[in-house]
Symmetry: C2
Subunit: 630 residues, 2 copies
């Protein structure tokens, strides 16, 4: 959107060189940084690699890395020049003109800026003679040169037109937050800009860099500020991603490359006043939650919904999908899929998100490379734009009202024949002419969807967070690491307006003893009186989760809970959390329906803004106990 | 073996409390530290937990942790005492008498040793009244108290018989190597001793402690020195393992508990002058390497062995197993298994290790909880003791000679009818009367097995290293992290005498894009002239691996290899490594036979002691290229 080149280092991606290049091209990158070991291990000659890139429409924007140049004893410097001639030969065959020279990490480095400048000038002179140029980068752990200021001082002293800087956001931001000085570097002396984010970790910087880098927006560096400063200095080269990450090294490269491109588009929008990216939807709210179930599991889901006070208020006009409602909460139960496919017996497979401008939200999703949902829309069905999140959940964008053309029009109103009765006045008489839809009566006091929690695949958890943040414009509301019965679980809740989505993933990919996927998904409903709801649920025979008595004994000691409240919590298997400001979260759970979906009912008191993560370990243990013994 | 109690904290193990307790008991622990959250999440009441432990023969040696006692403002101290009464109630029901109090991490802590001592004394007074006692531990990241010396100063000032120290090797050794001062603490004031090892990592100590602890002998702490000092001070309580580890949290608890016990037995032998553990075998050497193959793959393995110059010199007297030999290298090809089992088509499934005293080595293995190999020995077969390594490989212990009673006696000598001829004089005429076995002629120059490389399951890589170190008495000869095409691979080579075993495992468990298991296993044979061998292999049509031309171009620049040598390397697809002392490693590879076994041929020059890890990324890429395109 900005006319600026976008590049990605091959080291970001898994697989053989062909896999990496194909993935980069498919995601829309203009060029790559060719990581030398990726070429050395390839059966493609440099010339073949060049041709393959050309076929794919990719430039080779950088060849990297070339190591241990500056500060060498004289006899080693002669060797450096011989090594460089080999690199220049390879570059000539590759058809690339810029090589990354990173600051020396050798033990022999002589700390002498003039010597360093002279040696880099020698290299630049040879490069210039062949029409090439040197981008010199300070590694954060360089033996002598470890800051961008120091690398700039040496480039300045060398004063050669074929020698400039490479700035890498990781190396700069892992050492300092102060990047303002970069504005003083002439833009034409910044030859290359590498971008990586990283989580805030207090650890050896080399290990941090080699294993834990992330794409922009997935970590905690101020990338917009950094990039803005570099661009303000006059840098006009590619924005290039260089991310060393243990997970990305083993993940499907085509997906990683799209994730990378999404991060770059999002970053540019934050640097360039939007950069043409359609703005994020304002005030999104939950539309519907769709559960797909095999026929057998559908019986269990229906029974659970009915016991939770939901009424079946509609059936889809052309598909085996039912609409269940209570308060403003709407659930779709979809039994259309073939039962032979090896999928969970019941799963949350789609979210409807209500936004002011569905077409705009869909445009933004497309601009951010959200994969569109392939589907066949029936003649009379709503044309809801939809895309697929990293965990496979379909996200439908619904309009702000539920009138004609809205998704509710796809459903023929029904009188629920199985028990609960839908107030007659709520159902329009003629199909196709939907009346304004009122909130359904809250049979057991459930008034709305509070949040939906999805399970992310291990390889894609960082991608998933950025996906929801960027595409829907959500922000992180809560993040925690939970010690589950079978391993650690990372949980992140993102939200905007009334919409909140929790993303859980295991910290390590699980094995057969402790399967991590599919882990439970859940829908949390809000009540204004958890105990009244709990009583009603018990009367209706809801499949409630028993909480261990030890939890309440511990709670009493831990949080000094009032005796009367404690007795009520204990009686109704309601869990309890309290935040630092005295806000309270009272919540109860159903058992897992089928193999991976449960429901939560929560009451928020006193402005509690969390999601009860402190209770998650006991909740997980209680769920596991039921499933083990079921 | 020492009469000392051995305990393990429930937090070391995965699963529900019942799983953890059963695993600890099964591995032979005398007691557990009950991690309070494991009880809180359990449906077992404290009394039921006590009864379950009693049924399993486990004591509850410690209840932990109780937090944030010392340095509290007065109003909080009153709350502390209320919380403590709850903990004491639970302990009474559990039937345990010692609670771990760890140093405060709260922001409100008042730095006043006399106040801290007074508050701990209050707690101890209440504990003493109920027959309980307090073990006070300095967390390495405590707000004020973060060293064992400081915790001891406070215990000394408090001067209460129910207040003593808990020493945790992680908290002590992560802060200091100087543990000598512990010798000055009266043994009876050390109430509890927690043991954990850890890899050497330069990172935030809390994260290091919570995620990366290991069992003793798996990391780099001097645990024998530490434990020796504490015992010398007069400590007489349990040796108790407390290991927070992300992998162990999700691994099969019964296996983790055995790994834990093995580490403790090994540790005790290093503290107590052997502690009754049978000494490790001296000078082990390779006996045989057994490859199991499906009938179809067996054809390919046979063809490869023949092309590698091996001759079939024997057939097993009662099983479909063939003996193939060259030089001193002996391979068994086993086609006995049912083909219906979903196992790799060909795999290294057993190692014969020749030792001076097989019975002693077997006794040591049993003492170190190596699982015995269940099998049926035929009437006339050698009674080789055998056990199973963590990756499932059977390890057979063979005697020093191959005479009567040795494993060769199981094989009837054969004239190889398929091509290569076994010199007649080498084969004894009468079955059952094996002659001394000479070294087979080295048809293509292979003289011996150099090393065998096995693939470890992700969850068990730390266990595997300790297993081979302790059971066979090997030491680590090389360790590296290799950047493979599909992710990082950790490789560790262990050895003693002529025996060397490489253990590879992926750094993260792989997904479907980048399967990590089964990753290739390999046998490396030594030659004295790699180029003569390479020529012979080519003539015999061995399935040799092509190395990318780029590798040689890079090698020339990287290592300044002599032109003539470089040409020879390139011609014969031989890879080349050189160590800092000028030692050289010249090695070539076959393609992968079946899905997971390949062979390597290596020549060592000038005392090279490594295993060519620097070449592994290109070798992996070359293997992957063949497999992808096959």
């Amino acid at each position: 959107m900005t006319g600026r080149r976008r590049s990605i280092a091959t080291v970001c991606l898994s697989g053989a060189l062909e896999d990496k290049l194909a993935a980069a091209a498919h995601a829309g990158f203009d060029g790559v940084e060719l990581f030398a070991p990726d070429l050395v291990g390839s059966h493609l000659s440099p010339a073949q690699a060049r041709d393959l890139c050309a076929d794919l429409g990719l430039g080779i924007d950088l060849y990297q890395p070339f190591r241990d140049v500056e500060g060498a004893p004289p006899e080693l410097h002669a060797r450096t020049l011989r090594r460089a001639r080999h690199a220049f030969d390879v570059m000539a065959q590759l058809g690339t003109d810029t090589v990354l020279v990173c600051s020396s990490v050798a033990p022999w480095v002589i700390a002498d800026d003039d010597l360093a400048a002279a040696q880099l000038r020698d290299l630049a002179e040879e490069a210039a003679a062949r029409g090439l140029r040197i981008a010199y980068e300070a590694l954060a752990w360089g033996s002598v040169v470890s800051t961008w200021e120091h690398s700039w001082e040496i480039v300045r002293r060398a004063d050669h037109p074929a020698l400039g800087l490479c700035l890498d956001s990781f190396h700069v931001l892992s050492r300092t937050d102060d990047v303002a000085g970069i504005a003083g570097v002439p833009g034409e002396k910044i030859f290359y800009l590498q971008l990586a984010d990283a989580p805030s970790l207090d650890m050896d910087v080399l290990q941090w860099s080699r294993h834990h880098r992330l794409f922009p927006g997935q970590g905690s560096f101020d990338l917009p500020g950094f990039v803005g400063t570099v661009l303000a200095a006059g840098y006009a080269g590619p924005l290039s991603l260089e991310v060393f990450n243990d997970v990305f090294r083993q993940s499907v490269p085509a997906l990683t490359a799209v994730d990378a491109m999404r991060s770059l588009v999002d970053l540019e929008s934050k640097v360039d006043d939007g950069a043409g990216l359609t703005p994020a939807p304002t005030r999104p709210r939950p539309g519907f939650v769709e559960i797909e179930a095999s026929p057998g599991s559908a019986l269990r889901v229906r029974a659970a919904l009915r016991a939770l006070g939901f009424a079946r208020t509609g059936v889809h006009r052309s598909k085996p999908v039912e609409l269940w409602e209570q308060g403003t909460a709407a659930l779709l139960l979809n039994t259309s899929r073939p039962t032979a496919t090896p999928r969970p017996d019941a799963a949350i497979t789609a979210l409807g998100v209500a936004v002011e401008d569905p077409a705009g939200a869909a445009r933004r999703a497309e601009e951010l490379l959200a994969p569109p949902l392939p589907r066949v829309v029936g003649a009379r069905e709503a044309q809801l734009p939809a895309f697929i999140a990293p965990d496979g959940t379909a996200v439908f964008l619904c309009g702000p009202d539920d009138g004609p053309g809205g998704w509710r029009a796809d459903f023929a109103p029904v009188q629920d024949t199985d028990g609960a009765t839908v107030p007659a006045g709520d159902v329009p008489a003629a199909a196709g002419e939907p009346a304004p839809v009122p909130a359904r009566p809250a049979a057991v006091g459930l008034v709305a969807v509070d949040h939906v929690t999805l399970t992310q695949p291990f390889d894609r958890s960082d991608e998933a967070t950025l996906f929801f943040r960027s595409v829907l414009g959500l922000t992180v509301r809560d993040a925690a690491e939970v010690s589950g019965l079978f391993g650690l679980v990372r949980t992140t809740v993102l939200g905007a307006g009334d919409l909140a989505v929790g993303l859980n993933s295991s910290v390590l990919r699980r094995g057969s003893w402790a399967p991590g996927v599919p882990a439970p998904q859940s829908v949390t409903f809000r009540t204004d009186d958890v105990f009244a709801t709990a009583r009603a649920l018990r009367e209706r025979g809801a499949p409630l989760l028993r909480i261990p008595a030890n939890y309440y004994d511990d709670l009493a000691a831990r949080l000094d809970v009032d005796e009367g409240l404690l007795a009520a919590l204990r009686e109704h298997d309601v869990m309890y959390d309290r935040d630092a400001d005295g806000g309270e979260y009272l919540h109860l759970f159903t058992r897992v329906i089928g193999s991976q979906v449960f429901f939560e009912v929560a009451q928020r008191r006193g402005g509690y803004r969390g999601y009860g993560a402190a209770d998650a370990p006991v909740r997980m243990a209680a769920h596991a106990a039921v499933r083990t013994h079921a």
